[in-house]
Each structure stands twice: as C-alpha cells, then as structure tokens.
Symmetry: C2
Subunit: 520 residues, 2 copies
Amino acid sequence: MYQYLTQALHRAMQTRRNVVATVCGDRRRTYGEFGERVMRLAGALRALKLEPGERVGMLALNSDRYLEYYMAVWWAGGAVNPVNIRWSAAEIVYSLDDCETRILLVDDQFIGLIGGLREQSRCLETIIYAGDSLAPEGTLSYEDLIASHGPLTDAMRSDDDLCGVFYTGGTTGFPKGVMLSHTNLLSNAMSGVAEVPIPLDWRVLHVAPLFHLAAMTVVLRAFVRGITHVVLPAFEPVALMKAVQRDQISSLLMVPTMIQMVVDHPQMTSFDLSSLKQILYGASPISEALLDRAFAAFPNVEFAQGYGMTELSAGISFLHGQWHAPGGRVPGRLRSAGQAICGVDIAVVDGEDHELPKGQIGEIVVRGPGVMLGYWNKPEETAEALRGGWMHTGDAGYMDEDGFLFVVDRIKDMIVTGAENVYSAEVENALSRHAAVATCAVVGVPSEKWGESVHAVIVLRPDATVTEEELRAHCRTLIAGYKCPRTIEFRAALPISGAGKLLKFKLREEFWQGRERQVG
Amino acid sequence: MYQYLTQALHRAMQTRRNVVATVCGDRRRTYGEFGERVMRLAGALRALKLEPGERVGMLALNSDRYLEYYMAVWWAGGAVNPVNIRWSAAEIVYSLDDCETRILLVDDQFIGLIGGLREQSRCLETIIYAGDSLAPEGTLSYEDLIASHGPLTDAMRSDDDLCGVFYTGGTTGFPKGVMLSHTNLLSNAMSGVAEVPIPLDWRVLHVAPLFHLAAMTVVLRAFVRGITHVVLPAFEPVALMKAVQRDQISSLLMVPTMIQMVVDHPQMTSFDLSSLKQILYGASPISEALLDRAFAAFPNVEFAQGYGMTELSAGISFLHGQWHAPGGRVPGRLRSAGQAICGVDIAVVDGEDHELPKGQIGEIVVRGPGVMLGYWNKPEETAEALRGGWMHTGDAGYMDEDGFLFVVDRIKDMIVTGAENVYSAEVENALSRHAAVATCAVVGVPSEKWGESVHAVIVLRPDATVTEEELRAHCRTLIAGYKCPRTIEFRAALPISGAGKLLKFKLREEFWQGRERQVG
C-alpha cells in the first residue's frame, strides 16, 4: 500500500526543495541538499552490504546528521537502532548484539567508548564516525562516505516492513527491543499532524534526545509537513533560549522538568522568545503552579501534553491547549493524559480483558495502526502484550465520561490487599503532601492475612521528623483506610536507575525473595 | 493493523458524544445518538444476513441518513455502493447487478423508480425505504429497522478489506466499479486533515452529491475530527445561503459553477455568510475573474482546490489558499492542480513509464495508500491501470520545478500528428478565446500523411459568423502551427452525457469507424 517513511522526503524534495530542512549550529541545508546527502549516505550503506531490514545503530548527541541517519537507513532499506545515550557500555552492547547491529554511527561525544564496545560486542563490525574532526583510525568518515558515493534509488521498504528496533525499559531488568514498522511510525505521525496542525512556516526545535521515540515522532511530523528542523546537541536552558531567539522557533517538545528550568531561569527575560507558538510536553503531567508560571512567561504559547509509549509508536493521546489555558481549565483535568488521537482506540479493561465502565480503574489497552510488530526475539512477551489485538500498556488508569484518560499507576505496582486494589501512586501522592516527606515509594509486601499489604518507604526532608503514626493519620484524612500504609520505614535514599527512574522492583525484591508475586 | 473507517465513530462516541453530529432540516442528532442509530441499523443489516464485504446500495439525495448508511454498512462489515443519482434506470441496474447488490436504500425522491429497477435487476432483493413517509408496500422502513433492532458490535473490517464499490466513467462506455479498501479511504482522509486542518468547532455543509467520492471524503475528514455535519438535499443557491447563515457553516465543497451561481446570485448580499472560513472546490480550475468576484463576496474565506479521481480515493493534490489570495497569486498557478498532499507520490511519465524531466508533458501517475484495490471484475483493466505499482490516471500533465501539477488533457484525447503530441485542451483553449466561438471540441482524425490530424468541431455563438481561415489565423497567434486545426467544421451542438460531460469518443467514432486508433 506504500505507506513508507521516506515518502515525506520524496515529497519535500518535490515541493519544498529550497526550504531549509536542517539548522545545526551554523550549518543550514535545504531539502534539496538534505535529500542529496541522504541518498548518498544510503548509497554508502548499500556499499557496506546493508541487507533489507538490517539494523544500523547511532550513538550520538542530537545533530542534523541524526536526521540524515534516520532517512538514509530507511532509504537504503534498513532499520534504525537509536542507542540510548544514558546507558552504560554493557547496556549498549546488550542492545547492539540483541538485534545484531553490525554498523554503528558515533559522534565526537561517544567516540571514546568505541574501543570498549568493539571488545565486548560480538556483532559490531563497522564504525562510522559522524563527527566534525578527522575520522579516528579504524572508523569510516561519515562525510567521506557521502562525498564518495552516488545517490541510491529508494529501496521502497514500506507498510509492515521493519523500520526500527527501539529499546525500552530497564526498570525491570534487561531492555526489550520494540519492533516498529513503516506504517506504525507513519500512521502515528499522520495522526499527530491531523490532531495538532503544523503550519508550513513553522520551525521546530529538537532539544529532547533524538534516540528517544517521543522526540523522533516530532521529527517525523515535521518531515511529513516539510518544515525546518533546528537541532541542539542536548537540553541546556540558555542554549535553548538562544536558539529560539536566533532561529525564530515556533514549536518544541520538552518534559516538565525542562519547562521548569527554562521558566525559572534568571536570564529568561533577556531573550526574545516571542516566536514560540507551541510547547509539547510528555512523560509526566504538569503542575498547575508550574503551568501558571509558564503561561506568565509565554502568554501566546499553546501547551499540549502527549501520552504514549514506544510500543505504540509514541503518543496516542493528547491533552490539548484549550485545557491548559487559564480560562479553559477544568478541575483535575490537567492530571489527565487527554483524549485518544484520531485513528487510535483506547480502552480500560479488567483482568479478563473486558472493557470497564467509565470511571473504573483497570489496565489501559490500545489498538490501532501504531501498535508495534512485537518485541525483538521475544515471541512470548509479544503474544502476552498484544493478546486480543490490543497492546496491554501495563498502565493502570480510568477514563471519564468525556473520554479523558487518567493514568494512575503501573499495573505491576498495584497492590492487591484483601481483594481491594490499591494504586501505589495514590498512596504516594497522599504521603508526599506531608511536609516532612521529601520522597517516598509504596510497594506491596507479602501478608499472610491480606495476600499483600501496603508498605511505604519514606525519605524525609533534611532535619524533618515525623512518626509512623502521624503519617498514617495524615493519609487517613486523604484516602480510604485500606489504602493507608500498614507498615512504614524510613531510609536515606530510594533505589534509582541511571535515567533517574525509581526502581520499585528492587524495593520489592527484599520482601519477595523466593516467593511468586501475582501481578495485575 | 486496524486502519478502519468506523474508528472515527468509535472515537467520536468516546470523546465527543454530546457534540452535534448531523443537522438535516430541523433534525439534529449528537454523536451519541448518531452512533446508537448506526449500531442499530447495522444490527438490521446483519439480520438481513449481510455477508462480510457484501455491497449495499443507496439511491438518494443527500440527508443525514446517507451518513448513517455509510457508517452502518461498514459497522456491519459490508461495502457501500452509492448510486449515481444522475443515471438512467438502465445504468443504475447495470451498476447494481455488476457488483451483485442485493439490498438498496431509496429515499422519497427515487422511490418511484423501484418498480422498474426490481423488474430489470437480477440481484436486487430488498428495498429499504429511507424516506419521511410511510414505507411503500414491498419495502422495509428504515426507521422501523432502527427501532426494532439492537445495537450490533462492530464487525471490525479493516485495512485491505473492501469498503465500497464506486462506479465511475460513462464517457467511454459502461461504468467501471472502483474497489476501495478501508486503508484507501482512511489514509486519504488523514492526509486531507493533515494537509488542510479542520478545527474542532467547525461545521461543514454537504451540498455536493454524497454518492460522489469527492463529497464523501469531505464527510470522512469531518468524521475523523468529530465535527458537525450539516446536510442539504442538493445544491440550490438560496437554500445554501440560508443554511450557511442558520447553521453558521465554516466550510463547504463546491464545483466552480456552484461558486459562480452563489457569488452572482442577486440575493447574496441579503444573507449573513460571515461564518464561512473555507471553500474547497474541484472538478475544474477556477478563472481569475470568478475568483476575484468570489474574494470580493467572501473576503475572509480561504479557497483551496483539490485534484484527484475515484481510483485514488479522491483528492491527491491541493492548491492551497495562499495561491488564491489576491496577494499570493503567481502567474499561471491558478491553472495548477496544486502539489501532492502528504503521503502521496505523484510523477509524470512517458509511454514506457519513465519519469520525465520537470516541465515535460506526459501521463500523470500516482502511488500511495489511497490507490484503489482495482476495478470490480476487471482484472485486465486493473493490471493495466496499476502497472508497476502506480495508478495511471489517463490524464496528461506536467509538473513545474516547485512540484505544482498542471493537468493539460486526457491522454486518450491527445493527438499524435507527425510525431508531435498535441493536447486537445490547449487547442480548445485557443479556439475558445475567439469571440464567435460558444464551445468547441478538438479531436484527432485519421490522416494518411500525419497518422492523425487536428480536427475542430465548433459551435458558434448565436448570430456570430467566422470563417475556417479566420479561426486558424486566430489560433496561430496563440499556439504553434502544428497544433492549429487542419480541418474545422461547424455544428449546432456537441454530444454531451447525462452528467453534462463532453463525449469526445462519440465525435471520434464518426471518423475512426473500422480503424484502430493508437492511444497515448
């Protein structure tokens, strides 16, 4: 049916060849120039005997070359494997070898890791140095490859063909490779543009890491429209504000923490950021307090929140700008992940996959053209996740009468105590509202009587004190008795992953060793 | 992959159930009510033993029931067969029997035809009376069926499944049934919304006939967004202006003739039409003179032209509003069919399917997820039209350096004279600029010396006179000598189809009897 990701580039070269495609530092290239480079890089990959669907990795900060890499791999018929730059060398090697990645592009930031990766990996053969200096010995120069190869004809992979393996997870053990197809990513991009229009004169800034699918789908939406991409190597508030001012940025994607760092930055008022029209954010809801400060800072900007996951080709719901504007807020709605974008089915189901009535909490499941092909080399996990044709997100949530989705917890973090479901996030929210609590985590621990019981691990604020009983009394004013922690302990810190995610499974391990825990 | 047309209704019921879905005269129904009726009508179709993919016809003027029919047939797992209301009974019977249509919905306007259709058709079994009076004997009542059947669960046909057979043609003999899939129509709708955004507070007016795919894709785009449809039975300028004023219409689709009839209507200034934001038009380019009058009449309206055909799921290129606005016009561009919409490949090829350089005239070919499954029961015509994976449109045209497409003629109307290609449309345009010419048609006729020679048939304006030699001299001031008519004849009228289309094949027949004409 010819749904294919390079179509956007074909069309941009046909209709917008003199429009600037990429801006990276002082480099600017039109869609005509960008396309020429992509076709030549694809020619180089073909000369390296890239097989149809073969994975090509990239380990790099953001740059215009990252966008060329995506398009060139697809143009040559391959599949991308964008490497998480926050991972340890061992994790990187695991993901490269897991999906048999032979060719890896590396930039100046990560070229120092190459020796170790080569040593540990059993698949890695060819390193392409995508940096700005001379290519180190034993690597191929990205720019030389482009200069020395002729443009390739598009390999025309499309539809259900694999376009990439995207590694996700890490909080529950080894990462899983999510296999996405051309239709998966393209349909998500088309739905995204249909849902949140992108005018042709907009310029989008890529500041969130491009290895991450959320950032990559912003890239794809901009390609579908053929607008100008401006790329920053990584998030840094002053560099971001400089870029917005210099390149007249219209739209960007951030996480709420980034928004906070920009809005609260002392130099914020010294830049002209009036070109900004839209800030997309994801990963977590935004607080009303931060949103108020953001609106004061950016009075003409539309804020919109996306919710999704790699297995769904990124965002599948949107909380639109109208619900963020001071005049449009509905109590509680800012905590919502929004409504389904066009083309996507969202439902909330019980443990037997029956749809639940509105308002009842269950597992969020999703169906549509963006749902992954499966996990790389994991047929059982794939069958389990995709049973009945729906992607089981593992997120617990509910939907209100107007189709607004509320994500309350991870299913596996839900505690079943005396036949009642307790969502750890709800208990954590209650605990966090006590002045003495810096951070906390709530997990289910084994109980003879209740199956599981609610256990809280608390990190206190410096110099604060509070008793277990005081905390329990505080909780009882906010949530039902059976949800309040039965046991509470105080610690100096919680177990955190390299990416800053709380590792609840580590906390649970201490209590569940040798026992089987029923989940969901 | 779950690309399916009823998804839009599922989503509208989930997220916009209290929004008005349809307005038809004084009937208004929300998406909740509309969905309930659709699910019950689908239940009735299932009770009538509708098979997966089975065709269901509708012969009716526009109404809210036409929209229910589309969605209910898909919900029940069937395929629509919307009947051309301009056809003779014989043509209708041909199309019903060709694709074996057993069930036909008919409204008050056409119920009188039923006796004759029943008599002549070998397939027709069940007539559903979708009118406002009592159901005539021998027919089932649409409203009774809805009242007496429970809601059906969606049959979940999707992707490459047949969603409809759309009859096209008639200027070259019997109509052909174009088979479209769920992905065909849905991808076209998504591309359309991505290309020309539809805000959620818009109301769209359906005034072009809903059996026609161009009007139907406007319906689908509005469903994808979940906005309000307002339906008029047929085009009539005063009814249109009343509806725009009463229902605060934002957008509508017309052909240029309709635009002209509204803009030049004596009552135009007595209506408040200020809610209009967008007028989409197709079927033919618009003249600058009409556009100037239209801009004066609708200063805040964006005009956009679409080009496409049934085999492509309707529109595949757009000439956007910016090129219509008085400040944005580029000489000649208003004669363009615009640029490819996102997701669609357009190319211009020679007789051996090789892509031609920009500016050269050849056959327009199209590739993408909207290209039809094929012609019903016509495997040879299908293979010929879709050879190499591209739909061969039969239109001759060229593309400029910026990807703007110009349609110059039908390939089969192109005249090959002494190895030169002459496009009949170009010659007709030249002839039409002579004051004495009311209308004209240019065809190729057999020539011993040149293979074909250029022949013009002229209808003069009342009381006008002109000689053959004067017309030839006029042409020579506008086009190259080899393009000028070698022979000219004067007639009282040209052969025209019931739908008002010029039937060039009838003109040619007179000259080519018994001979084989090489086409394209």
